[in-house]
């Protein structure tokens, strides 16, 4: 109460006076805010071209208005359903298996008694997080390459010969999910592990005295304490479900192996890039901006909704 009063009197005191310290503080903000304005807000204004027939020489403002025809074209094109399906389904797999595996790792790690061993395991598990998708793409290529790859060598032992993985779209649901989990499981499990470390140890001791074994203890004591965290992290991930990891879907698939894999790996982000890069005819700038704008708006609504839900569960966990 007193603190609140203090703040109020302070506020009043400074209300009409711009002190030199205020001026210094504002001057600090100028460069960072300007950077954000140029590289974040100007492009937002540039989304106007989603409603225009953009011509490079006419500029953003000079190009002709075309209403919603860019959106219309996209909705009518056969790629629309494919993109939404692939983006949502792949992300769904990542969320499901990513969460399960990192949860499992965290729970197992929690049972490791030696601090030294915990550290070693964690360090190794986190290492892939530091690699770029390009490096990961090379590893995937070394495994899947049809002529020399490791996987086909193993399969040939069982009499299965020369499968060209880069032209088998269905297999990529599995390949991409495995790749995603491999790269992120270490880092993702850190959050759960940190939460487990915060469990009141008397709870665990009590369950031990009651004669609960490790499995029972995990199910009845450890897991319930994690449920709020799991639901919130999942909800927040769902908020980003329309945004695909461009690096994973572009490099690891070798640019969708030039079209052979689009059926399952063409996502909104890769579509925007390819259309922008490869199409020189027509209104590709306007079209891709329209798709990007759509993704951004739907994404924003989802993030706000999911965050609002997260706040209901635990006010401390929401992002805002």
């Amino acid at each position: 109460m007193r603190a609140k009063l203090n703040v109020q009197t302070k506020k009043r005191k400074y209300k009409h006076k711009l002190t030199s310290s205020d001026i210094q503080l504002y001057s600090m903000c100028i460069l960072p805010l300007l950077t954000v304005f140029i590289f974040k807000y100007l492009p937002m204004g540039g989304t106007l071209i989603a409603f225009k027939d953009y011509k490079f020489n006419l500029g953003i403002l000079g190009s002709q208005w075309v209403g919603l025809s860019n959106f219309e074209y996209f909705f009518k094109s056969n790629v629309f359903v494919q993109l939404v399906r692939n983006t949502l389904f792949n992300n769904f797999l990542f969320i499901l298996f990513g969460t399960l595996s990192s949860l499992l790792v965290a729970i197992l790690l929690f049972e490791v008694k030696s601090r030294m061993a915990t550290k070693i395991y964690q360090t190794i598990l986190i290492t892939p997080f530091f690699m770029s998708w390009v490096i990961v793409a090379y590893m995937v290529y070394a495994i899947l390459n049809s002529n020399y790859g490791y996987l086909n060598q193993i399969l040939s032992l069982f009499g299965i010969q020369g499968i060209d993985w880069y032209s088998k779209p269905k297999a990529w649901y599995v390949i991409l999910t495995l790749t995603y989990v491999w790269k992120n499981v270490g880092m993702d499990s850190v959050v759960y592990y940190a939460a487990l470390m915060g469990i009141d140890s008397s709870l665990i001791e009590a369950s031990e005295i009651d004669g609960a074994n490790k499995v029972k203890r995990t199910i009845h004591v450890v897991l319930p304490t994690l449920i709020p965290l799991i639901s919130i992290l999942t909800i927040l991930k769902i908020g980003n479900i329309f945004r695909a990891d461009f690096g994973l879907f572009y490099t690891v698939t070798q640019d969708g192996a030039s079209g052979n894999l689009y059926e399952t790996t063409n996502v909104i982000d890769t579509y925007i890039f390819r259309t922008f890069r490869e199409t020189t005819t027509g209104n590709s700038y306007g079209l891709t901006t329209a798709v990007g704008l759509l993704q951004s708006v739907v994404g924003m609504v989802l993030v706000i909704l999911t965050n609002w839900t997260a706040k209901k569960i635990d006010p401390d966990m929401a992002l805002f």
């Binding site: 302070k10 460069l31 986190i126 770029s132 959050v191 924003m300 929401a318 805002f320």
Partner: protein, 292 residues
């Protein structure tokens, strides 16, 4: 009971050993593919344990060092500049945002926060950066668009808030300017969070390949990851060199193993250096409180 516990520990140990092997295995495969003998490779494919070990791919990579070392140079330069500028700029915006009495603070919070919710997307950003700012094919395109990430700003702000106000007050009484307070007191006291942010931005820059994909056509300005990506996409880059090499009478170039050797040379340093800073990366994830 004791015995049972030991058994459980043993089992968990085995599970983790296997897990770690799975994680490490792709790294090993990459390395051993790069060390395979081209002849054996052509006949049998990549070897899990290369026999005989063959360094010709590395000899080739290090003989034709110009391209890869230049990419290393470019990447190091822009990564370091981005890291330094980012920490400076983000501290400079985070500090005023901790001051409750500063008017417009909430507006500024929202101004930053909104960029996390909504963005212009690839094409409008491209038009601004390439057409209006003319940053294509300059090193600045790697740096400027990456500056001031609101997520990290809020992380820094939360940490700055933890610095006792009495320190700031007594410095003000001693006549210190706000700049003195930020650079002389707050920032030195906030090394952990600044280190975390510095490392994350450095890692992002180091692994950045799509900036070059979009904005760079000048081979001299290729980032390391993009050079690697373009070799993957287009083996012709090696083959062009191969033609040049065969004209000067060099032997055939083992493209498959050279690719892999390039990947190892590019991944190696990151693999060795970043895990040392793991502590800070982990901290960055577990500092959840970024709210305003």
């Amino acid at each position: 009971m004791q015995k049972k516990n030991k058994l459980v520990q043993l089992m968990i140990g085995i599970i983790f050993s296997m897990l770690c092997l799975i994680i490490i295995f792709p790294f090993w495969l990459l390395l051993s593919a790069s060390l395979s003998d081209p002849g054996v490779l052509a006949a049998k494919g990549y070897q899990i344990v290369p026999n005989p070990i063959d360094f010709s791919a590395y000899k080739y990579v290090f003989k034709n060092t110009e391209q890869i070392f230049r990419a290393y140079g470019v990447t190091i330069v822009y990564s370091v500049i981005t890291m330094i500028l980012n920490v400076l700029l983000m501290a400079m915006i985070a500090y005023p945002l901790t001051r409750n009495r500063l008017r417009g603070r909430n507006a500024m919070n929202f101004y930053l926060y909104f960029t996390m919710l909504f963005n212009g997307g690839l094409v409008p950003t491209y038009i601004v950066v390439a057409k209006y700012l003319h940053l294509s094919n300059t090193i600045w395109v790697y740096i400027l668009p990456m500056l001031v990430n609101p997520w990290y700003v809020f992380m820094i702000r939360t940490f700055f808030k933890g610095v006792p106000e009495s320190i700031i007050e007594s410095a003000t009484i001693d006549g210190a300017s706000e700049y003195n307070i930020l650079f002389g007191i707050i920032m030195p006291l906030s090394k952990p969070v600044l280190a975390t942010v510095a490392l994350f931005t450095f890692l992002n820059s180091w692994n950045d390949w799509n900036t070059a994909l979009i904005y760079i056509t000048d081979e001299k300005l290729y980032s390391l990851q993009y050079l690697l990506q373009s070799i993957m996409e287009n083996i012709n880059i090696i083959k062009q060199n191969k033609m040049a090499a065969s004209m000067t009478g060099n032997q055939d170039i083992p493209t498959e193993t050279v690719r892999m050797a390039m990947a190892v040379v590019a991944a190696g340093p990151a693999l060795i250096v970043f895990p040392f800073f793991q502590k800070y990366f982990v901290k960055g994830l577990t500092v959840g409180a970024v709210k305003g």
